[in-house]
Symmetry: C2
Subunit: 489 residues, 2 copies
């Protein structure tokens, strides 16, 4: 990437002026909504809605043409009908706009005629303006104060996670899910058909972006596979890259073609090549989120896991899955097992790892003590603690009350548990991860979900990731382990 190109992209991600073309005066049109989204998100640069009709919108002057605009324009958002795009893009090039995001659809994804129109755009881009799209949502950049049409309620807090995505929907889902996981976003780019800027160039840009520590990518097609993999191989030595490659089946490839005009490819070939180049490959957004959260919270992830919690089948299930994902659940030494036994009065609990606590809610200080025994004695990289939130909140109180005892509550239980775990994490430098299992999905049980979410925020704030199931914990941790291995090559 040339320094000039990088400067152009820098300008696009933090535009001093944003010009908007198309649908400005049409209620609930894409063009109007994307303007309203910037206002609502709190864009601090200048907004220049442009329409030959002139007038006003949302208290802003509507300019009749780009030439009327006084200040510098670094980014243009174009939502005019496909046929009119080349002409508008040409105007932007003429006045020195750094880049444009073309939201309009009706290009390569629709067939031959659209593909020709897309070629026209590519030719204009080659003359000196960077293009995102067509058929995309464009840029979300908290630091630049700009966002997608459906991004007005994304977090304004920047963070270490960047994403490039050929799908606006996937990028939007990330924007909505990230805050609950405590993941700040640096730059999210929906690049649709990718006629100019695409996976390779955006990856290269983000590799050099100091704000970005982890890169996620959703791709449907790659223009020059060999070159992309070459770039990727370099980037993964510096930053973890988590890739979800869609369209890797005959059916998916057909869908990709009509979505972003992309050629999918063969699953085995692609996933192999991506992994070879040091990327972590995932299937679907949830797996991507699990991996990003694991990378973000587990500074020293490793394959040796210990598990602590109730329910032996969780042990079996988790063990089966750990094996499939190349993780280990090493048996504790007999000395450790003997020490652990002291905390239990009944037989039948497996002390070997997973440590089956039997009871769904051992007192918080017992859990803390067991965690300490494990992390100080055993060569374990990550200790996973499974908490049955529903059981604590909904079932134990009934039993306690029947016995005239003070009932526990999941919120106070989890709060009490957080302290010894935070301390232990700090002292040992080992990683702790939580699983909050919430088997309560009736409308009237939604309070369990609320408690679980509130406590998840507190744990994450203390650097401890929280997953909704052991399955997702293992999925995420195995991704983080793979990413770390890539960087150590």
């Amino acid at each position: 990437m040339s320094p000039e190109e990088r400067r152009q992209l820098d300008r696009m991600f933090s535009p001093r002026g944003l010009a908007l073309f198309g649908g400005i005066s049409t209620p609930v049109s894409f063009g109007q909504l994307i303007l309203l989204s910037q206002i609502r998100y709190g864009f601090r640069g200048r907004l220049y809605p442009i329409s030959s009709k002139g007038g006003e919108i949302a208290g802003l002057k509507i300019y009749r043409s780009l030439r009327e605009v006084e200040g510098p324009v670094d980014l243009a958002a174009i939502s005019v009908p496909a046929r009119a795009v080349p002409q508008v893009l040409g105007q932007c090039l003429d006045v020195g706009v750094a880049g444009a995001q073309i939201h309009s659809s009706g290009f390569a994804e629709t067939g031959k005629e659209g593909a020709d129109l897309e070629s026209e755009i590519r030719e204009i881009a080659a003359r000196g303006i960077r293009v995102l799209g067509p058929n995309c949502f464009g840029i979300h950049s908290p630091r630049g104060g700009i966002t997608f049409l459906p991004g007005f309620d994304f977090s304004k807090e920047p963070g270490p996670v960047a994403m490039i995505s050929q799908s606006g929907g996937v990028a939007t889902d990330l924007g909505h899910e990230a805050p609950a996981l405590g993941l700040g976003l640096s730059k999210v780019v929906s690049f649709g058909n990718g006629c100019d800027l695409e996976a390779r160039s955006l990856l290269e840009y983000l590799a050099g972006d100091t704000e970005t520590r982890y890169i996620a990518a959703y791709m449907e097609g790659v223009r020059d596979g060999r070159r992309f993999l070459e770039t990727l191989r370099g980037v993964t030595r510096e930053k973890p890259v988590v890739i979800w490659k869609g369209g890797l089946s005959p059916l998916g490839a057909r869908a990709a073609l009509s979505h972003t005009g992309s050629m999918g490819g063969e699953a085995r070939v692609w996933n192999g090549a991506l992994a070879q180049a040091g990327a972590v490959t995932v299937q679907g957004l949830d797996e991507m989120l699990d991996t990003l959260a694991s990378l973000n919270y587990l500074k020293n992830p490793g394959p040796r896991l210990a598990l602590l919690g109730g329910g032996g089948a969780i042990g079996v299930f988790v063990s089966d899955m750990a094996h499939r994902r190349g993780l280990q659940i090493p048996s504790f030494s007999s000395e450790t097992q003997n020490r652990l036994k002291n905390y239990f009065s009944t037989p039948g609990n497996s002390m070997a790892n997973p440590l089956d606590t039997g009871s769904p809610a051992l007192p918080a200080d017992t859990i803390g003590a067991l965690a300490r025994e494990i992390l100080t004695r055993e060569p374990v990289d990550v200790l996973i603690i499974v908490v049955l939130v529903r059981t604590i909140e909904k079932e134990l109180p009934a039993f306690y009350t029947m016995n005239g005892m003070e009932p526990p509550s999941a919120g106070s239980y989890l709060k009490e548990l957080l302290e010894p775990l935070t301390k232990l994490k700090k002292e040992t430098g080992r990683e702790i991860a939580m699983v909050f299992e919430n088997r309560a999905h009736l409308p009237e049980e939604v309070d369990v979900e609320r408690i679980s979410r509130e406590m998840q925020q507190q744990y994450q704030h203390s650097g401890i990731p929280v997953y909704p199931s052991a399955e997702r914990a293992l999925r995420g941790i195995s991704g983080a382990v793979a990413a770390m291995r890539s960087m150590e090559r």
Copy 2:
């Protein structure tokens, strides 16, 4: 299974009298809690807590011995220490109790000594009393009014789904999740180490149980694999059997051994053999639930899917996954595509299948009309409609309000949509399934979850299943399709 054995099991599942041994006077002991659970769940037979100390508990007389009991005892719940179990079980046999569930642990799962004790129990059972366990939760039977220790808040409404499980945790999770999916349970059995009654005999019993239409099984080991598969082969011709086999990896097998003293086995061998015998194999409880819900609601499941919703990447992702699961997403005819186009004003929406609606919330009547075009013109078995609940509830109102328009709400939108869909389902005899996507996981967004859950109940009530993601919908539907194919052999 002999008629005598079947009668014994009938008595166990609907006991006139239930005797309880062990921990009766010890607060928060297993023995006491299981007694309290029966009271709370509303057992309508006679409860006989038994302890040599005598006295009273929860208003019930404590009997000093089983011989003091007046009425018939059909089931015994035994939680005494492992060593004392044979003697108690012998007493039960002597007075003609039909069966016992042995909750105590400390048997084969702990090593040689425990295994010997377990052999002793098996010998007593052979003399004429049926045994569940040891190391199990025993029976949950809404019609019989008995439940697990943690089952006191399970639904009291019986239904078509039975489960046999070597894990009490897995069986309990099913009990908690089933109501939200509108799945009634007939009989759930946690049989732990399975020293007498085990997977094969319980399967045979449920095959002949008129109340049970679908059978789920979580197994860690099988005593006589060949015989089990033979029985299974027969049962799957009559009723769908969904099996999750745990312990199918070296790590999982080790965990299974210390959980229920079971030998796991080889993944490829087992999953192949189970499928060959007509079972639907799943990995984990969520996949099991998806499959059971699909079986319960989709009376005519089939592999040809149509998809309708916003977000093109969902199309690509779902298409990739459909391919992996042997499902089809056949392209619509060009005539149908042309008709569908009339409902859209902008290009770029794929009409081919998946039908990408572009907008996250087309008016409910438009969705209804599109669904009608598809189901009346195309050879489709199941139409899946993806609704972005968070988007409708949280984002659209902002845009509508900015434009001075009446904002929608997810609840009223989904309510409005239910009517045309129910009608269409009835008229065409085709299946409709919903995906409620809720990408809102912050504590303050829990209202979206509540709305989604409430509407899920209403849709299920109208015979339309609701899944939390397209991934889970496809997973469940492919399981239901496989089960139906087995029955058509």
